[in-house]
Subunit: 334 residues, 2 copies
C-alpha cells in the first residue's frame, strides 16, 4: 500500500514534457564562453521550444512542431545545421537531416544537400511526397526543388566562424600529415577530434493527440571528406520515433551512433526490456562511451517522460512542459 501511495504521489508531481530540443553536445565549457554568447544561445533555444509549443497548443501534429522548432535552429548561425553548417574539406556545406512520424513509422531523410535552406523540410518532403526514405547528393537537392522548397545559393551557408573552423582543421590536417610521414602511422583520429563540432540540432515532440515525432538536422563534421554521412539522417541511428515507445534525436560522434544503432536501441530497450526512457538512454550512451565515442541525445516517451543525456562537458538543450514551463541548459553541471 505504501509503495502504491508513493507511486501515485510521484505521478501527480511528475512533469509532463511535450517538446525537447538539443543544439549539439561537445566540449562546451564556461571558460571558453562569453556571457553574450551564452545569452545568444539560450535565446535561440528558448525561442525554438516556444515555437514548437505554440504549434502543439494550436493543435498541430508532433511532426509540425518538430519541423517548426528545427527551423528556428537551422535559421540561426549559432548551430551546426542550416545557416550555421560547418564546412567540408573542400570548403562546401553539405547538410543532412531526418524526420520520423511516430504514428506510422513513416520517415524521410536527406544527406549531402547543398542548396536547401531548411534541410528538415526536405526530409519531411521525402517522407510525405516520395516513396523513399533517404535521398542523397544533388539528387536530393533536385527532389527538394521539385517539391517546392525554398532553395538558396550555397553561399547562403557561409559564416566566418565556420570558415575559420575549417581553416584550423586544415592546418591540423597538414601538421598531422607531417607527423604521419614521420611516424609512418595514422594519427588522424586525435588531430581531427580537436576541432570537431558536435553542433547537430534535434527535436522530439509529443502532441495533443499523444503522437510522437523526432527530427535531426546537421552540417556534419568540420573538414569531412569523401561524402561522409553521419548518424543524423539515418533512421535508427540518429533519429527514431514510434508512438509505442519513444522519440529520439542524437548528437555526437556519428560513427559510434551508427555502429550502435543508438536511437533504435534506446526504443528497443524500452519496448523489449521495459526500461524507462532515462534507463534506456543511460544504457545506450554507456555503449557509445565503452566503444570510445561520445555525444548525447534527447528522448521523449508517450507519457511525457524525457531525458537530455550526454557524456560530454555540455549539450545545448531545452525542454517545455505541457503547462508551458521552459528549461534551458548548456553545461553538464546544470
Amino acid at each position: 500500500m505504501l509503495l502504491i501511495a508513493i507511486s501515485c504521489s510521484d505521478k501527480e508531481n511528475r512533469k509532463k514534457y511535450v517538446l525537447v530540443i538539443h543544439g549539439g553536445a561537445g566540449t562546451i565549457e564556461r571558460a571558453s564562453m562569453t556571457p553574450e554568447k551564452e545569452i545568444a544561445y539560450k535565446q535561440v533555444l528558448e525561442e525554438a521550444v516556444q515555437v514548437g509549443y505554440q504549434a502543439i497548443q494550436a493543435g498541430k501534429s508532433a511532426v509540425d512542431a518538430v519541423e517548426a522548432t528545427v527551423h528556428v535552429m537551422e535559421n540561426s548561425p549559432l548551430f551546426n545545421a542550416g545557416k550555421g553548417a560547418v564546412f567540408t574539406h573542400e570548403g562546401r556545406n553539405e547538410l543532412d537531416a531526418a524526420i520520423m512520424d511516430g504514428r506510422n513509422l513513416m520517415a524521410g531523410a536527406i544527406a549531402g544537400v547543398t542548396r536547401v535552406r531548411n534541410p528538415i523540410s526536405a526530409a519531411r518532403a521525402v517522407m510525405e511526397k516520395s516513396e523513399h526514405v533517404l535521398l542523397s547528393g544533388s539528387g536530393a537537392d533536385s527532389f527538394a526543388e521539385q517539391a517546392g522548397l525554398e532553395m538558396v545559393d550555397p553561399s547562403y551557408f557561409y559564416t566566418k566562424d565556420r570558415w575559420d573552423g575549417l581553416q584550423r582543421a586544415l592546418e591540423l590536417d597538414s601538421v598531422e600529415a607531417a607527423q604521419e610521414r614521420k611516424n609512418h602511422q595514422a594519427s588522424s583520429l586525435n588531430a581531427q577530434m580537436i576541432d570537431r563540432k558536435f553542433g547537430t540540432v534535434g527535436c522530439v515532440a509529443l502532441d495533443n493527440k499523444g503522437d510522437l515525432a523526432a527530427g535531426t538536422s546537421t552540417g556534419g563534421m568540420t573538414n569531412k571528406k569523401f561524402g561522409r554521412i553521419g548518424d543524423a539522417p539515418i533512421i535508427g541511428a540518429g533519429t527514431y520515433a514510434n508512438n509505442e515507445s519513444v522519440a529520439v534525436s542524437c548528437t555526437g560522434w556519428g560513427e559510434f551512433y551508427l555502429r550502435n544503432v543508438v536511437a533504435y536501441d534506446l526504443a528497443a530497450l524500452m519496448s523489449y526490456k521495459s526500461l524507462t526512457v532515462q534507463e534506456a538512454a543511460a544504457r545506450v550512451l554507456k555503449k557509445v562511451e565503452t566503444a570510445g565515442g561520445n555525444g548525447g541525445l534527447i528522448a521523449l516517451d508517450k507519457h511525457g517522460n524525457m531525458t537530455m543525456s550526454f557524456n560530454t562537458t555540455g549539450m545545448y538543450r531545452a525542454a517545455i512542459t505541457d503547462d508551458g514551463k521552459v528549461e534551458v541548459y548548456i553545461y553538464e553541471d546544470e
Copy 2:
C-alpha cells in the same frame, strides 16, 4: 530427464551452419524461369558458398569469408550487385554495400559508387582504413581509389538485361505519368513495383574462432532517382553483425527495412527477448509485411543456427554447414 535427453539429442542432430547467402528476394516463379537459367543461378550460388567455406576452412576470418563470397556474386551478371547492377533513372549504375564485423561492431559502407568493381571491398576499406562508417557518391569512389581498390570504367556495369529492365521501367513511368495527369493522383507505387528488382546479394558467416560477420551489396532499385539510398548500406537496417547475437543481411523493399530498422531489430529481439534466430526473423518480417513491404533476409547466430526467411515467391539462397554440406534453393516451396 526426458526433456534433457530430447534436448541433447536435438543438439547432436542439429546442423551447424557456417555460411549463408542470398541473391535477392522477389517475384521469382518457376513459370518465368528456364532450366538453363535455374542452373546458372544455382551454380553461382554454390560457387559463392564454396569460396566462403574454403576461406573459413583455411582459418580466415568471417569478414574475409563474407568479402570473398560476395565477390563471386558481384562478379556475376545474374545478381543486382557489382557487374549485374540495375540502372538508375538517368541510365547509370550506382552501387551500395556494407560490411560489419561482429567482433568489435566495426562497420563500413558506401552508397552511390560508380567506379568500384567490388563495392563490398570498398565497404571493407571504409571499415578498416577510415575513421568513418558511411561514405557516399563520388567521394566514396575517390576514397576507394585512394585505398587501392580495383576501379573500372562505369561501362563495366552495363548488361543488356538490366538496360532492357530500365527501358521497361521508363515506359511504365510514362504510362503512369499519363495516368496521373488523368486521375490527378499518385499511382507511382504500383507501377514502379512491377519491375522492381530485389536482386541484392548478401552473406553472413561464422568462422572457426566463433566470430560473426555480415555483408550486403546491391545496385539498388531499377529506375531509382534523386540519389535514393536503400537499406543495404545502412548498418542496422540491411546489414548487422554482433558476436553476442547474430549476423544479418536483408533484401527487399528497402524503404520498409529502413523504417523498421530490420537487421538490428532482429538482433535486439534475440538479445533482449531471447528469441531464436528463426523466431526473431519471423517477427521482423511480419512487421515489414504489416507495413506493406516485402522481401527477405538471412541470419546466422553464434551457435550456427540460421534462417533464410522471406515473404515473396522466391529468394535465391544457399547455405553450407561446418562439414561442407551445401543447400541451394530458389523458390518458396523448396
